[in-house]
Subunit: 273 residues, 2 copies
């Protein structure tokens, strides 16, 4: 754990002043999604923006990496301090491409992933490509923020996500935060005026139960399509991201990458012989 | 957290006696990999075995799910208490297919994922399809064990992985373990006699730095291929899985799925306004 403001532990460079800052933006819905425009709106308020985002939708890709395929990089556009690249891999591939190739001689001050079309609260943090990219970003010695809006609709309104995204990113830049820092931010549906503010919370315990949709393809072969229902494992708890979202708060969960279950580590000394 | 031995919290059924036990086996290397045979060898010592594993290699797929494609299930064989199915999705899709469709009216007593060709120690737990499946398995109210052998070679010897896998699974069935329980087990290269035993440890802090291999495809388009190097962030620590593996111990790390960073949760009350 190191102080983020003045020192990035990988490159040893000081973090820049506001107008020199460099923000990497990615997502899992693809470089040309509506949520990507919202994420760029958040980022451009703080400095220069480089987008490296998937060519196509990569929802549910978790922290997957592409090991067995070549990947293609495409420069989409560059204007007014925003350069946009599309990469044919997963969200995590995009982050690696940015840090280890495109921006390897530059200092990145923040990674913003999103704004996702749909929430990534509770256990969804594990399946989410948006959060996979944010977690990966936090491995590179800068803060990372995953932003998601609890609305899958084509006409989703990202205005509140932009306002709260800017507030959170601004707060991080203004403070001396410890690294690693990765935030899972979920914004409820509603206008800024309708939302009640931010709430720091913990990840809700819950899980998905799937129903496989079964049908026959045009050649008569039976196929399955994943479809499921989220089960809130603790609907009474008021300190979780699920509760915050349901009660019109922007849910902010700090995410760690040490998966060690220290409680079980102690228990297991009596179990494993 | 519930007691596992007599009660599975999802189905409310008691867990069976040894000869009635049902073990779900999956992996990320595909149903016909050598490591799968080793995992079946582990599982069949404890009861009936159902394999639902990917059609093709799914290494690096993390906890990805397939949202935008139909999936196909294929029955490969059934003999001597072992039924093998191939599923065209990710490792996590395979676990969901097993619990939510194929075995939905049965009680699964354990999920075994692996034996992976290559270790999944340290941060690799996050990218690993083997561990993605094990984590998913632990959501279904039974213990889950991910097994990996620190050898990518085609002639890798899985004998020690089978011996230690059986020992660990046996210990879990013999004890009253708390749920959820998910283990990330990594076996070093070597014969059983060469290994020094098991070591309960924590996940090593480390990360990958990538070099993108660049080349031109037959049509003259530049492509990138991910290739990297693991950086051990704490080479001196002696309580991590990396240390255990390097010192010929079988590394056992209990894995949790609450990603909340409680330390940062406290810190951030001063950061976010």
């Amino acid at each position: 754990m190191k102080k983020a403001r003045y020192y990035s532990y990988l490159c040893g460079k000081t973090i820049g002043k506001m107008n020199e800052r460099l923000i990497l933006v990615t997502n899992d819905d693809g470089y040309d999604s509506k949520g990507m425009e919202a994420a760029i709106e958040v980022a451009r308020a703080f400095g220069r923006v480089v987008v490296v985002a998937p060519e196509t939708t990569q929802s549910g890709m978790s922290q997957a990496i592409t090991m067995y395929n070549p990947l293609y990089l495409r420069r989409i556009r560059e204007e007014e301090g925003v350069a946009v690249y599309a990469f044919s891999g997963t969200p995590v591939d995009c982050v690696k491409m940015a840090f280890d190739y495109l921006l390897r001689d530059e200092r990145v001050d923040m990674v913003i992933s999103g704004v996702n079309h749909g929430s990534n609260s509770a256990v969804n943090v594990l399946y989410s490509g948006t959060m996979g990219a944010a977690i990966e970003g936090s491995f590179y010695g800068c803060p990372a923020v995953g932003l998601s809006l609890d609305d899958h609709g084509a006409d989703a309104d990202f205005a509140a996500a932009v306002v709260y995204g800017r507030r959170i990113v601004g707060d991080i830049f203004a403070a001396e935060v410890e690294l690693p820092l990765c935030l899972n931010v979920n914004v409820p549906v509603g206008s800024v005026g309708e939302l009640k503010g931010m709430k720091l919370c913990r990840q809700n315990r819950g899980f998905w139960r799937e129903e496989f949709y079964r049908h026959e393809d045009p050649r008569g072969r039976e196929y399955f399509w994943l479809t499921g229902e989220f089960v809130n494992g603790e609907p009474e708890a008021t300190d979780t991201d699920e509760w915050a979202l349901a009660n019109k708060y922007v849910a902010v969960v700090p995410v760690q990458v040490d998966l060690t279950d220290y409680r079980q580590l102690k228990n297991l000394t009596k179990v494993l012989k």
